[in-house]
Subunit: 344 residues, 2 copies
């Protein structure tokens, strides 16, 4: 298909563009009053995720209101463990909560990789189809899933955690079981991403939110290994890997069969480029808290970041999801600054 604006696809593939594309993680939701109006008309977050028309509506809002160069489907990484058998709740101001978790071999019966993802997660595919139709080629649509290690964390811990020590305990006490679970998640994730492509996703991002809590050798064995398998399985569209905090994995990531590596705001841009090499796009990495600063500072710091990326492959973004109390006008300032920056 043809797009009015396919800057992000071009940068992901390493093609020349006049300016850098820009979008924000968590742009769909949280910060927009228009999102909250939709959200507040419903019983909860999950109802929004599971109602394709409304998920599509909030997916498109930031394209209309903020002027980003890509939409990302409004959904949650936890739809995958749920489809595999572990139902979750999203508790207001607390976060996700799973009634059942995997803690022993006996619990393995609670989950299955042998599922029809297109059926189980039909609401996501429907949302993607509606979004694509309504976007009508204005900008590409990003699909996504959680990385196997991060999904493993929730399946075993059952909720957010400062240390994820329950999840990490399994890696030491029963690594074979950990690999069984990670294999199952990987298998479903690949099916899920392929279904998203079939429904219309133009590019994909894999979020490894808890990558940063593992020692480097364990992340290699339980993290990168499975992310790599996903990268190898997906060849249809550009893939981005974002492993927050995993600065120690950048060398391994340079070898992944993917287009783009996300970097967080702790990671030095020049150093990351040196480690990853010239043949991958880097996405990021403005400090999300910078959007609390005044407009002038946002502009100058954004330009400073863009200059560091120079004329190398780059998709502008924050180094983390946008924080809920960010003023949308500040977000627009960031976006406009990127749009005004000419690649030399």
């Amino acid at each position: 298909m043809s797009y009015e604006n396919d800057l992000i696809l071009k940068q992901a593939r390493g093609e020349q563009t006049d300016r850098f594309p820009v979008w924000l993680m968590r742009q769909a939701g949280r910060i927009l009053p228009e999102y909250r109006a939709v959200r507040n008309s419903l019983s909860g977050f999950k109802e929004l995720v599971e109602t394709p028309e409304l998920a599509a509506e909030v997916t498109i809002q930031p394209v209309d209101i903020l002027g980003v160069d890509a939409a990302i489907i409004f959904s949650d990484i936890l739809v995958v463990p749920e489809a595999m058998g572990l139902e979750y709740q999203m508790i207001e101001k607390k976060g996700p909560w799973f009634e059942k978790t995997i803690n022993s071999e006996a619990d393995l019966g609670l989950i299955s990789a042998d599922i029809d993802v297109e059926q189980e997660l039909k609401y996501v595919m429907d949302a993607i189809q509606i979004t694509k139709r309504e976007l009508n080629g204005r900008v590409p649509l990003i699909g996504f899933c959680g990385a196997p290690w991060t999904i493993f964390c929730y399946m075993t811990e059952g909720q957010g955690s400062k240390t994820f020590s329950k999840a990490r305990k399994i890696l030491y006490q029963n690594p074979e079981m950990a690999h069984k679970i990670l294999n199952a998640i990987t298998e479903v994730s690949i099916k899920y991403l392929k279904a998203q492509i079939k429904a219309g996703a133009d590019m994909l991002q894999v979020f490894d939110s808890w990558a940063g809590i593992l020692p480097p050798d364990q992340y290699e064995e339980f993290g990168t290994k499975y992310v790599s398998r996903i990268c190898e399985a997906i060849n249809e569209v550009p893939v981005t890997i974002f492993a927050k905090g995993a600065y120690f994995a950048r060398e391994a990531f340079a070898k992944l069969d993917c287009n783009t590596i996300g970097i967080d705001w702790n990671m030095d841009i020049e150093e990351s480029r040196r480690i990853v090499g010239p043949n991958k796009t880097l996405q990021g990495n403005l400090d999300p808290c910078l959007l609390y600063a005044d407009f002038k500072t946002i502009e100058s710091e954004t330009n400073k970041m863009l200059k560091k990326f120079g004329n190398s492959r780059h998709i502008a973004n924050l180094g983390h999801g946008v924080y809920p109390d960010t003023d949308p006008e500040k977000v627009k300032c960031f976006i406009e600054t990127v749009k005004n920056f000419k690649i030399k």
Copy 2:
């Protein structure tokens, strides 16, 4: 004074020893049934912190029971903001909570650096004196405080947080106010550490628990700068700086006027040694979750870590505080393995 065992002081000063000294962050408390017996006889955590005889008792427990090479005074980094004017509560299973926080210039009146630390925190000095008397030279006693940036986080955020975005917002919106607060904390921290030395502390550790959430340039301005000032002010005893997650600050830390740098379990040992150079002791960095493994694995992984430190300056420790549900027998296995490892 003379010690039966001063391995840790020798390693901190770069003197030769036959084996590496070993202790654990959070060794006083949490994991020992003997600690819980004392703790449960009281109304709460703070009563224990503020009762010198009992604080001394739980400080010495790990020396007797686990056989560590140093005691660390049982206390909390939040006694400093409290002494400065912000009272805190420690809420069971939730963590610290401050009723009043600093969010504007007007709130600056809530805190003061012009305090008599020896009086305000007399219970800490008393606990140190009692501990020293009862240790009677068996092993050295470590005193500690939080780093200014970490104390700033609690003073402004008022509680733990995943992002500390409230604290971080101030750095962008009112950096001058941030520096005022950090200056005040630094001033009190130096007085506090000097009082601990006077009371008998043989070495000191500064904990920068939230160092890892700042972008490198901001950590330099709001973190390292104040840690450096503390290092320069303390010359009486060896000082350790542990800035969790601040891998990007290791180069700057190499220049600090301190003896020892703590490294967490994400940081590569050889790389850290390369960055920090040979003239500082490195402390750490076993993954705390490794103590969930079986005895054989704990032994082999501990030996693997020790070999990586080679014959360079090293104090063995975990890369983070020991987790509460760790089996004390596993902790002993770690300690015994270090004790049996001969430096070549």
